[in-house]
């Protein structure tokens, strides 16, 4: 089983029935996780994507290389301008969003803007997209990286593009990597589970700060049936593109 499928399953498990979820650009894993959740335990989840589509029909859906590909709107039930989804967020009605993180700190804050100084960047990253706006507004924030490393998990961000854990706020922050699943809560950056064939040590060694390690389980993997669903939604294996070989 490819780790992509483990990540997709882990993402899907964060989605509840009746949640409203959005995925943005460059998001094949979230797109599949949302479908997987909706096809299994969360049939009433509201699925909105960056192709402005509401509930694209999974039977006619095929994952494409751009997350905004018009084929991702096929047989959807409505057109939801991204701005309308942002309005939902402002009203406190957007449950969840997925965001990447080029750098992630121990609060789950993320940097997607630049490496180095903003005005003199060493690397200009693509930019934070919806991060600054949505991270303080959603109830469930899922941050993912397929590059679990010290370069990603840093002591201090070069730029705070998005907010992770915020004291006193009802906000569930999950970090899902190619090795493990974390939650940021009041007590810190808690390691919840490691993926099959990954050790806690490997996870911790590849971070510049120490996560809280207490009760660690193994990340559940998708069932045969779930794998078939994923495969049917993504026959071309777009989901593997983010993973370095």
């Amino acid at each position: 089983m490819h780790v992509a499928d483990v990540v997709i399953k882990a993402m899907a498990m964060e989605i509840g029935d009746n949640d409203i979820f959005l995925h943005g650009l460059a998001s094949p894993l979230p797109a599949l996780a949302m479908h997987l959740a909706k096809l299994t335990h969360a049939p009433n989840m509201v699925y909105i994507n960056v192709a402005d589509a509401l509930d694209p029909e999974p039977n006619s859906y095929k994952l494409c290389l751009s997350s905004a590909d018009p084929r991702h709107a096929v047989n959807s039930k409505g057109i939801i301008e991204l701005l309308e989804t942002f309005d939902l967020a402002a009203k406190g009605k957007l449950t969840g969003m997925f965001l990447g993180g080029a750098q992630i700190d121990s609060k789950g804050n993320i940097n997607l803007t630049c490496i180095g100084d903003y005005y003199l960047p060493k690397v200009k990253l693509p930019g934070g997209a919806a991060a600054a706006y949505l991270t303080p507004l959603v109830k469930k924030l899922i941050i993912w990286t397929t590059n679990h490393s010290k370069r990603v998990f840093v002591e201090k961000l070069d730029f705070v593009t998005g907010l992770g854990y915020e004291e006193g706020k009802q906000k569930d922050v999950t970090i899902i990597t190619n090795m493990a699943v974390f939650k940021t809560v009041q007590e810190g950056f808690v390691l919840k589970s490691v993926h099959p064939d990954v050790t806690v040590e490997e996870v911790v060694d590849n971070m510049s700060f120490s996560p809280v390690v207490k009760e660690v389980t193994t990340t559940p993997v998708p069932s045969e049936e779930e794998l078939k669903l994923i495969e049917k939604l993504d026959p071309d294996g777009v989901r593997f593109s983010e993973f370095k070989r």
Binding site: I79, L82, A89, G127, E242
Partner: protein, 269 residues
Amino acid sequence: MQNKLVDVEKAVELINDGDTVTLSGVSMVRAPMGFVREIIKAGKKDLYLIDREPGMDFDILIAAKAVKKVRVAMLGFELFGLALNFRKAVENKEIEWLEDTCGAITNALRAGASGMPFVVVKGVLGTDLVSIHEKEGTWKVIEDPFTGEKILAVKAINPDVAIIHVQKADKYGNASIEGSRFEDVYKAKGAKKVIITAEEIVDTEYFMKYPEKNTIPYFYVDAVVHMPKGAYPTACPNYYNPDYDEIRRYLAMCREGRVDEYIKEWIER
């Protein structure tokens, strides 16, 4: 209604060097690539490009040295990687940049369309973007006059020119965006000048039959250009999908330092 159907060479004259310009579409969907080529051909300079999440349109304009400044929430090629010319130009300080966030920049465009001088936007506070924009004069943290709570005020964006690629338009400028609209309707309604490029020119009867399909009515529009495949290699819903191979070919040539060659070949095609 006046006939606004013009040749692309005529329409491109509406753009002045130094203008703030916004382009339709998102990432690899409905970018006005055909018109972008004309901007490069016409040798426009010092443009200030503004958009939520553009892609090849912005990157190639930067490569062609048409750009002075960029304001975006994200600019990249998704799974294909970074926008190389954007990245290089920023890192070498050849262009200025202002990072925005989707919820703020889309609200700023909607405020521009609505004739509001500014709009208040939730979220954002606590991120490092706030001080960047306060310095820039584009945002300001204010107090809600009713509750006293801190909230972000975002200045409206009213670009000099909006270039919007649509599926169907009539010669007067009534224009129909099919499928995802993104912020394109707001861009058009907030801009000082609007150029429509269209896959198809239809009779006005089309809009009389389907008035709800008129997403950008004629009185907002300054020029209409008939441009089949005008979004290529990005997608135009109901007409064609993105040509991922062509976009990858562009990126490969950029990586090999051959972007000038790509541009030359493209504008001579």
